[in-house]
């Protein structure tokens, strides 16, 4: 998902920790107690969360770029207002999540530096280009739809600040998905050409959306520990299946064809079965070689550099005012 690149294991640190404390911690997690920032926690739990929450935050922030690309070209004022509000929400999601990560003892500056240096990952989905207006609808419907599938169980995550951030985020996501789907519905009903644009957008966004859930369970060594810590509640494949089951009928309602000739409904299980994901493409994009990786990082670096004087000026101004207050106090004494 937004944290799909969690590859390395951090659990080794647990080996040197006091077994009693680790057991007491696990008992609290098992009892569904929330873990708060000042509580004792295993180092692996802390590291996993810092990485997961910050990757999630980076994804929200980088995710503003492909959609921001269309704000000035939205076809109507209504659509422009909606898109602007949605992109602003994504910025807000990034900020809620950075705050949650910071409670674990990492600074905002460190997190920003990890993103800009390329050390930290973000969701592979945002490395694909938004070529037409239909892509904006497809992102709301599919990308936010996939994000919702992932984020709803995260509302019950064992770490309090992450869980609370996710509750806020989930309240706002529904609008994101609905505005996207409504936009597509309007397009498919308008003309044959517009319907073709929507089909083309689905063709390009379908597989990358399925990749958002991360590697298949057989290749995801992280799942077991994260499930035991109740950071994760469902495996990647379980969430992916939920998403496919929910989304295929929605595509059919739009009169669209899912670009997968292996797709079929299994009457016995009640699930949609689908073809194999191109994992080479997934690995390529995660490794930094997707269609837009360089462009996205360059845009973030430029924004950060362009804003440097604002941050400096704001700090200098607050120092100047503090000094003046101090001087006035001395004069009055």
């Amino acid at each position: 998902m937004y944290t799909q690149a969690l590859n390395a294991r951090d659990t080794e640190a647990g080996a040197v920790e006091d077994a009693d404390r680790v057991a007491a911690f696990q008992a609290r997690v098992d009892a569904e107690e929330k873990i708060e920032p000042n509580d004792w926690m295993p180092e692996g739990y802390r590291k996993t969360l810092v990485r997961q929450i910050s990757q999630h935050a980076h994804s929200e922030i980088v995710g503003m770029l492909p959609e921001g690309n269309w704000i000035s070209r939205a076809p109507t004022l209504k659509r422009k207002a909606a898109l602007l509000a949605k992109v602003q929400d994504e910025g807000g999601h990034g900020l809620y999540l950075y705050s949650a990560a910071e409670t674990l003892g990492v600074s905002r500056e460190e997190l920003t530096e990890q993103l800009l240096s390329g050390k930290a990952k973000y969701s592979s989905i945002f490395n694909y280009p938004t070529l037409t207006w239909a892509d904006i609808g497809a992102i709301g419907w599919l990308v936010d739809g996939a994000a919702i599938m992932n984020q709803i169980p995260l509302c019950r995550c064992s770490f309090g600040p992450y869980s609370r951030a996710m509750i806020r985020v989930c309240k706002e996501e529904s609008f994101h998905q609905r505005q996207g789907y409504e936009l597509l519905l309007e397009m498919v009903r308008s003309s044959e050409e517009q319907k073709e644009m929507v089909q083309d957008a689905l063709n390009r966004w379908w597989w990358p959306s399925l990749m958002m859930f991360g590697p298949s369970d057989t290749d995801s060594q992280h799942s077991a520990q994260s499930m035991a810590w109740k950071i994760k509640r469902f495996t990647n494949d379980e969430l992916r299946q939920k998403f496919v089951d929910a989304t295929v009928p929605q595509a059919h309602y739009l009169g669209l064809t899912i670009p997968d000739d292996k797709l079929s409904f299994n009457e016995a299980t009640g699930h949609w079965e689908f073809g194999e994901i191109d994992w080479d493409e997934f690995m390529r994009v995660i490794a930094g070689n997707g269609p837009c990786n360089r462009e996205r990082l360059a845009a973030r670096k430029k924004a950060h550099a362009d804003g440097a004087w604002v941050r400096e000026a704001a700090l200098a101004y607050s120092r100047k005012r503090a000094d003046r207050r101090e001087a006035a106090r001395h004069a009055a004494e």
């Binding site: 602003q88 807000g92 607050s318």
Partner: protein, 95 residues
């Protein structure tokens, strides 16, 4: 203030239901005024609040989770602090 990093502020919001101000997250800002503006943008995009407090995070004094038992455990045994501890005959009516 000589720090190079932008200070952190805790944000408290009173919702329109007339509840007490409630902690909802934090923001980074150079000063109090910018912290209030950032808090408004980040935490009240859908009419969630009618009033905002921001407090420098460094000014929050928190109890130690390790002392949880000695601080809060003693109240568990004081059941006579609850109304249900006292028997009032039914004929007396609601009390």
């Amino acid at each position: 203030m000589t720090e190079k990093t932008t200070p952190l502020w805790e944000v408290f919001i009173r919702s329109r239901t007339g509840m007490a101000h409630r902690h909802c997250g934090s923001v980074h800002a150079a000063d109090a005024e910018m912290a209030l503006q950032a808090a408004r943008d980040v935490y009240t995009r859908r009419g969630e609040g009618l009033s905002i407090w921001v407090v420098p995070s460094s000014e929050i004094i928190a109890s130690d989770p390790a002392q949880k038992d000695e601080l809060f455990e003693p109240t568990a045994s004081k059941i006579y602090r609850h109304p249900t501890f006292y028997e009032i005959p039914e004929e007396v009516g609601n009390m």
